[in-house]
Structure formats: structure tokens, C-alpha cells
């Protein structure tokens, strides 16, 4: 392998890993086991995993079609729509949470409709956590899937069409599998971003233990009172996410 690629790659990896080592070095390893088994930690962890996964499912269901429309559809103002999709990325998450409150809060136009018609109120609920995470994480999915779709050879879709496949059938059976690595990458980004989401969640869904206190919120609170505990919580979050990603990704991609 060429050094001109390997050297920056190693530098890049080091850049990402060294701070993590710093974090691990600061972790209070001796008290770790008992901290880990505390119900608050387990509750927060479970909530985090459940919400991030649900948010990811939501994002995949809406984001992959959106990416496809952006990549293949012949729609006017596509560049603008694509830029709009990128916006929640740029929005500081706390502002994103506030925006969600403005729209979906009890006083927001959509929130009122949801409340009046369906009796659904999203803020300060676990569903609200999912919504906040999905809002922040979806652009990651959309943009990386769209990138993958654009790099894919559209002639396979043409071949599918001549075989009588509707665009939907071709999308499912031909397009999607052929960009599987891109979709997996986008899904991973989305899930990881959802798992680490803090600002929008605490603003839109609040910070109620067992209901909306995900790991990042717990970490934030612990930072206020017990920084060592915050480090422990972060390490747990990291370990779990590394484990999930390392085991799943090879499997998905191998498929």
C-alpha cells in the first residue's frame, strides 16, 4: 500500500483514537463494575439503544426513498431540496430541538393537530426522543445514500425496466442491493448520530429518567455532578456502540 495513503490514514486514525485513549485513561476503572450495574445506567442505556434504533428505522423508511428521489428523480429545484435536507446538520442541535418544539410542541401548528386529532403529544415523551433523534440523524442517511446512488451504474435499473420491473420493484431488487454498502454506511452514521444526540433531545423531549434520559443526557448531568461517572457512562456508550457496529457491519456488508 502506498505510504502517501497509509501515512495520512494512520494519522487520521490516530487523531480519532488518541482522544479516546485519553478518555479511557481517565476512566475510574476500579469502581467501574459497580457503577455499570446501577439501574440508572442500564435504564439509560436501554432507552438509548431502543430510541436510536427506532429513529434509525424511521430514517431509513423515509430517508432512503428521499435519497432515491433526489438521485434519480427528474425534479425541479433539486439542488435546493438537497440543500434543505442538509440544514438540520448545520443547525445547532439545541436550536433544532427548539424548532421541533415550535412545530410539534403543544402550541405548534402540527403539534396541535396531532393532539386534537390523535391525542398524541410528542414533547417530553419517549416518542419525542425518537422524533428528535430522527430529525437530527436523517440528513446523514439521506446524503450518504444519495451519494451512493449517484455513484451506482443506472444501466442496471434500465436492464431491470426492460425485464418488466416497475421502478419500485427495480429499486427494491436491483438498486438497493447494489448500493448496499452505501446504505449500510448511511444507516451506521444515522444510528450513531442518533445514539449520541443530546441537544435536540433535551430541548424537545426533556430529561426525564427512564422516559427521555438517554445516555448522552445522563452523561451531561453526570458531568455537572460527578465527572468520573460521566466518563464511565461515555465509555459504556462507546463500548456498546463499538460492539454493535463491529458485529453488525461485517455481517451486513458480507451479505
Amino acid at each position: 500500500m502506498p505510504p502517501v495513503l497509509v501515512v495520512p490514514a494512520v494519522l487520521g486514525l490516530a487523531f480519532l483514537v488518541v482522544p479516546l485513549i485519553g478518555l479511557l485513561a481517565k476512566a475510574p476503572w476500579s469502581t467501574l463494575p459497580q457503577r455499570l450495574t446501577s439501574p440508572e445506567v442500564l435504564d439509560a442505556l436501554e432507552l438509548s439503544l431502543v430510541c436510536a434504533t427506532l429513529a434509525t428505522v424511521l430514517c431509513v423508511l423515509m430517508g432512503v426513498p428521499l435519497a432515491w428521489v433526489l438521485a434519480r428523480g427528474d425534479i425541479p429545484g433539486r439542488g435546493f431540496i438537497r440543500a434543505l435536507v442538509t440544514v438540520p446538520l448545520v443547525l445547532p442541535p439545541v436550536v433544532g430541538g427548539a424548532a421541533l418544539l415550535f412545530a410539534l410542541g403543544r402550541r405548534g401548528p402540527v403539534g396541535q393537530v396531532l393532539d386534537d386529532w390523535f391525542g398524541v403529544s410528542l414533547p417530553f415523551t419517549t416518542a419525542g426522543v425518537v422524533v428528535a433523534e430522527a430529525f437530527v440523524a436523517m440528513p446523514f442517511l439521506v446524503i450518504s445514500v444519495e451519494g451512493a446512488l449517484r455513484a451506482a451504474d443506472p444501466r442496471f435499473e434500465e436492464a431491470a425496466a426492460t425485464l418488466g420491473a416497475s421502478r419500485w420493484y427495480a429499486f427494491r431488487r436491483v438498486t438497493l442491493p447494489s448500493v448496499a454498502p452505501g446504505v449500510v454506511a448511511g444507516t451506521v452514521l444515522c444510528w450513531a448520530r442518533a445514539l449520541g444526540e443530546f441537544g435536540a433531545t433535551i430541548t424537545f423531549a426533556g430529561n426525564f429518567p427512564e422516559k427521555t434520559t438517554t445516555m448522552p443526557l445522563a452523561v451531561y448531568l453526570a458531568l455537572e455532578t460527578d465527572p468520573e461517572a460521566a466518563i464511565v457512562l461515555s465509555v459504556v456508550l462507546l463500548a456498546v456502540s463499538v460492539a454493535v457496529l463491529a458485529s453488525l457491519r461485517e455481517r451486513w456488508i458480507g451479505g
Binding site: V94, R107, F124, I202, G206, F208, L221, P227
Partner: protein
């Protein structure tokens, strides 16, 4: 009417008539003390459950303004309380004052407030927009010092973290923070601190879903039992 208005969710405590869930929005700096007070309150009122939403005072104020279903709001500054229109007669329940925090061993050799004007030292303050920053501004005005900070932190804990890690030679934080930080941080008191005492107001809310519970919780915080918990955390009595 003792116990007669019980809800299906549980029995009521004798004497108070409190039932159900009490939802408390409290400033993040109250996390430890209020968690304890909540446990004590639940113990004193069997069948009652207290749920907390801890976050920055301003975020909480905004959530309440947006219609969050909340019974009690405890803010770290009167300003945030004022943003909440339907707070019922806010009462100060604790006060906090500033202290100089330096890393263990005081490597920057900070002696007092005047060192904050030394551009050669690394200094962290809170941003003016947050309560501890506003307090710091008052203190410096009172002392006639032009501070030369390197960073204006988003909250007091962030400033304290910088001290803890030795990234700065000194920061102005609350006494409670220095106390909570333990051995890694040393506190230096200074006289001008009294010019900027920070009141923590608490209030039940007009539209509280559990009005009785709200009042009972506020009363409990203002009671001696509540005060002693707060005092343990380093708060001064209001």
C-alpha cells in the same frame, strides 16, 4: 378531607392529601440536592412519585413556555423564572455565591481576584448570558477590575471542568461547585463575592396538572429538611 380525594394510583399521605406524580423542572446545578430531596419527599408522602427534568434553567423556561406539563420550576436565576409567565409567586429557596476555583496545588499561583486581570494567566469565566457570568460581571465592576479571560463558558460546570483539567489557572464558579468538585479543585474566597449573590427561585405553576403536589413539594423544599440538604451541597440559606 384527609385521604378522601385519593386517586386510583395510590394512597394519599396523611396530612397533605398529595397523590400521583409531581413533575419538577429543576436547574442542572440542583441535580444532586433535588434528587435527594425528591427521595425524601417520596418517603414522607407514600404513593407519591416525583419526576425530575434537569437541564439548563433557560432551556427549562423555554420548555415551560412551549406548554410542557410541569408542576414545579426551580431555576438557578430569577431572570429565567421571570420568563415563565404563569409561575405562582416564586420564592427564593437558596443562594449561591462565587468563589475562585484553581486546580489542585494552585499551579498558576492565583492569589485573588486581581490576578484575573493578568493576561499571562489562563482564565475561564462564564459567559455574560448565563447567571454565573452575570454575577462575575457584577463582582468585577465592584472590584474595579478589568478581567482578561481566555474563554467565556456556556455554564458554570464547563468553567469548572477547565479548572479540574488544569487547562486554566483560575475560574469564577459557585461555591457549591467547588464543594462538589472535591479534592481536584481548590477554592479561594474573596470579599467582593457578596456583591453578587445569586438567588435560586422556586415556584409552582398556575397550570400545574398536580397543583396539590406542586404546593407540597415547594413547601418541602422550603422546609428545614429541604434546607439542610441544600446546605450540605454548599448552598446558603435564602
Amino acid at each position: 378531607s384527609t385521604g378522601s380525594g385519593g386517586t386510583p394510583t395510590g394512597s394519599s399521605a396523611p396530612g397533605t392529601g398529595v397523590t400521583g406524580t409531581v413533575t419538577v423542572f429543576a436547574a442542572a446545578s440542583l441535580t444532586e440536592s433535588f434528587t435527594r430531596i425528591g427521595k425524601d419527599f417520596e418517603a414522607a408522602n407514600p404513593g407519591v412519585k416525583v419526576t425530575f427534568n434537569f437541564a439548563g434553567s433557560s432551556a427549562l423556561a423555554q420548555q415551560i413556555t412551549q406548554g410542557a406539563p410541569v408542576d414545579v420550576f426551580a431555576s438557578a436565576a430569577p431572570a429565567n423564572m421571570q420568563q415563565v409567565a404563569d409561575a405562582v409567586s416564586p420564592t427564593a429557596f437558596a443562594r449561591n455565591k462565587l468563589e475562585i476555583a484553581v486546580p489542585q496545588g494552585n499551579p498558576g499561583k492565583v492569589a485573588g481576584l486581581k490576578d484575573f486581570a493578568d493576561a499571562g494567566k489562563k482564565i475561564a469565566l462564564c459567559a455574560e448570558q448565563v447567571p454565573c457570568g452575570a454575577a462575575a460581571k457584577k463582582v468585577f465592576t465592584a472590584a474595579g477590575i478589568t478581567a482578561a479571560p481566555d474563554t467565556l463558558e456556556q455554564d458554570v460546570k464547563a468553567a469548572l471542568t477547565k479548572v479540574r483539567l488544569g487547562e486554566v489557572d483560575a475560574a469564577l464558579v459557585y461555591r457549591t461547585d467547588v464543594k462538589a468538585a472535591g479534592a481536584s479543585v481548590e477554592g479561594i474566597e474573596f470579599p467582593e463575592a457578596d456583591k453578587a449573590v445569586n438567588d435560586y427561585p422556586i415556584a409552582a405553576l398556575k397550570k400545574a396538572p398536580n397543583a396539590k403536589g406542586a404546593k407540597a413539594f415547594v413547601d418541602y423544599v422550603l422546609s428545614d429538611k429541604g434546607k439542610s440538604v441544600l446546605a450540605d451541597a454548599g448552598f446558603a440559606a435564602a
